[in-house]
């Protein structure tokens, strides 16, 4: 079963940031926008500030900031960057875009 194909699935997302930098604020805003648009009601976002909890960086092998980790649905995916490219973010997250945004139902996984 392709991730995202089940509409009832809950998306568990973790966003790693290092302090309230402009970049992490942008990333969080971008992520929220995407989720609200395409995964409305079926997502959770946990923001982990490594400045406050540096030891957590090890768990998900965080190198770059910001890093978005998709824990669910499996498999785990990591996306680094401020998510400013919505199109690419959707592809990387394997989110089936909401109908209003994109008509083509093609799976973009291969392209990524």
């Amino acid at each position: 079963m392709k991730p995202g194909s089940d509409r009832s699935e809950v998306w568990e997302l973790f966003l790693y940031i290092a302090g309230e930098t402009p970049r992490s604020v942008i990333a969080f805003q971008n992520l929220k926008d995407i989720c609200n648009t395409h995964l409305a009601g079926r997502y959770t976002i946990e923001v982990i500030d490594l400045v406050k909890n540096p030891t957590l960086a090890e768990i998900d092998q965080i190198v770059a900031i910001p890093t978005l980790v998709r824990k669910l649905p499996k498999p785990v995916r990591k996306i680094i960057g401020d998510l400013s490219n919505t199109e690419k973010t959707l592809i990387d997250l394997q989110v089936r875009p909401a109908k209003l945004k994109n008509a083509t139902q093609k799976d973009h996984r291969d392209a990524s």
Binding site: N30, L50, Q61, V63, I65, G81, D82, L83, N85, D92
Partner: protein, 589 residues
């Protein structure tokens, strides 16, 4: 204007200048890696990043790990190892055989190994990012143990994991600046590509303080590791390529320049083990701590001369090491026993250690390193290396010379009397060595076994012996059942002769002497004969003279008695006449 004022003021205020770091300008962190701190005059630049680059398997990771481990054990500086390639378990396993116990250091909270896997598969990039996560992790690791040292092995993994190299470069640059601020001495490893020797991602441009290049070169099937400091900002450093080796105690750099001609010369003398050879060397033998070269063609008795020395020294209780690159220990013991040298008691007593190996098994540096280590471990007073010419098989001629120079320097600096044998190839003049090592040596004994008159006889001569009067003679050397014997030179009418020629000449001369003796005897006899004859003749003449004398005496006495008779007759006649006309004598007148 202000500039000129400053320069004018500087000499007036020397205290200010003294307070600054020394001329080399920067503080250094000793690596603890044997030899490396010598060629860098103290180690790596403290609180700055150093790039260690080299090909695969050149020892970069080990260099980093040893830097950390020795930093902990020898300098009390905890360290962090950030691995982008291997896991903690893999690293620990890899260096366990090299004497580094990482789990122990980790357990003592002196070392942190952080594995960071950056796979392109894992990371999808969308938009702008930085390496804040890495910074935090590194920072966290450093702070957790108060690390003073860090190794990043190897940064290039980031380049293969992340696509935005422009971003990466600026982040790496920021990382190094940040590490400087944190006050940690960093090592960054990077893979270099032939032939430029530059790292693939041009890490050199970030690390402007110190760049060390490791190389693993194969020359004629024998590999040699080399190390070179291509850059060390603000400090003197050795610029040569220094061979190094990796053995059970880690990395060992073998610098030539850290050895210099400052060793003390001993006036003590040490016997060669051959009484007559001692005699040729001013009656006392070699100088203690000198290096002796014994050259000779095959079978000329080089090993025997060396073994004599070692045997004598080990029997005196001096610790001796003997390297053999041709024979096994039991073979040496057996062969030396045939000339009356029994090495076994010394071996059993522990005063003699025989080490054997084929020279081709390692590169020269490895050999030198092993010799170095054995010397340090065994602390011998005398060593014998038989033969050093075999090292040419393990490297080029010039490399061999460099290696032997270092070997001589090493033994001299430790005051070890060294005897090295050197095989001269047939047809070469006896007074040469391929590697030109003779000038390094204090005493040079030349052995030859020239063919003459259908036989070969060993001849020993002392070509040079610095600082002592030595014999200029060629002496015939005999290998007898009780050791080496040097025969007094036999100087016949046609020069010095040896072997059968000497014997035949000796015999013919003996015959000549006998002949002379017989001749003399005969002459003596002749003289005696003639003396007898003469004396007999004298006797005869004397008796004849006597006879003549006697007959003369007889005649005289006869004549006398006749006269007497005549006088008596006359008297009687006169008496007869005077009885008549006796009273008228006047009338007669």
């Amino acid at each position: 204007m202000s500039k000129t004022t400053t320069t004018k003021q500087t000499p007036q205020n020397p205290a200010q200048r003294i307070q600054k770091p020394d001329k080399s300008g920067i503080e250094k962190a000793a690596t603890g890696i044997a030899g490396f701190d010598d060629i860098t005059f103290g180690g790596l630049p403290r609180n700055r990043p150093t790039l260690i680059c080299g090909g695969p398997g050149s020892g970069k990771t080990l260099f980093g790990l040893e830097f950390l481990a020795r930093g902990i054990t020898e300098h009390g500086e905890p360290g962090v190892f950030v691995s982008f390639e291997e896991t903690e378990e893999e690293l620990a396993k890899n260096v366990k055989s090299l004497g580094l116990d990482l789990p122990d250091l980790i357990a003592k909270k002196k070392l942190v190994i952080d594995t960071l896997r950056v796979d392109r598969e894992d990371y999808l990039e969308t938009g702008d990012y930085d390496l804040g996560g890495l910074f935090i992790r590194v920072g966290c690791a450093i702070d957790s143990i108060g690390a003073k040292r860090i190794v990043l092995d190897s940064m290039e993994a980031l380049f293969s994991g992340l696509t935005d190299h422009m971003r990466l470069r600026s982040e790496i640059h920021r990382l190094f600046l940040w590490l400087k601020d944190k006050g940690v001495t960093a090592i960054v490893t990077g893979e270099s590509i032939e032939p430029s020797g530059k790292t693939r991602e041009g890490l050199e441009e970030f690390i402007s303080d110190c760049v060390v290049y490791l190389d693993h070169r194969v020359n004629d099937t024998i590999s040699t590791r080399r190390l070179r400091i291509t850059k060390y900002r603000g400090s003197f450093h050795g610029t040569n390529e220094y061979p190094f080796m990796i053995d059970e105690s880690g990395i060992c750099v073998l610098p030539v320049t850290s050895l210099n001609l400052t060793y003390k010369a001993s006036t003590e003398r040490v016997s060669t083990g051959i009484a007559s050879l001692d005699g040729m060397l001013g009656g006392k033998g070699y100088y203690r701590g000198s290096s002796v070269l014994v050259t000779g063609t095959a079978g000329s008795g080089k090993t025997s001369v060396g073994a004599h020395f070692i045997h004598a020294a080990s029997r005196r209780g001096e610790r001796c090491l003997m390297w053999s690159f041709e024979e096994s220990e039991s073979q040496i013991v057996r062969n030396m026993r045939s000339i009356g040298i029994d090495l076994e008691p010394s071996i059993k007593a522990g005063s003699l250690k025989i080490l054997t190996s084929r020279p081709q098994i390692f590169g020269l540096e490895m050999h030198l390193g092993i010799i170095h280590k054995e010397i340090n471990a065994f602390a011998p007073k005398c060593i014998c290396i038989d033969p050093v010419s075999n090292f040419i098989g393990a490297g080029t001629v010039s490399e061999t010379k460099v290696m032997l120079t270092r070997l001589v320097d090493l033994t001299k600096s430790k005051g070890i009397t060294t005897i090295m044998t050197y095989l001269i190839r047939g047809g070469m003049p006896a007074e040469t060595t391929d590697a030109g090592v003779s000038s390094l040596m204090d005493t040079w004994i030349v052995l030859t076994d020239p063919e003459f008159n259908g036989e070969r006889n060993r001849i020993l001569s002392v070509l040079k012996s610095r600082g002592m009067p030595h014999s200029n003679q060629m002496r015939e050397m005999l290998l007898t059942s009780h050791g080496v014997e040097l025969i007094d030179p036999y100087l016949g009418p046609s020069g010095a002769v040896t072997g059968a020629a000497r014997k035949s000449l000796e015999a013919s001369e003996k015959a000549l002497a006998v002949e002379w003796e017989i001749k003399l005897l005969r002459k003596k006899k002749d003289l005696e004969n003639s003396r007898d004859l003469t004396e007999a003749r004298i006797k005869m003449l004397r008796s004849r003279l006597q006879t003549q004398e006697q007959s003369l005496q007889l005649e005289i006495s006869q004549a006398k008695s006749l006269e007497q008779v005549k006088v008596e007759d006359r008297t009687r006649m006169g008496a007869t006449r005077s009885s008549a006309p006796d009273h008228k004598p006047q009338e007669q007148r």
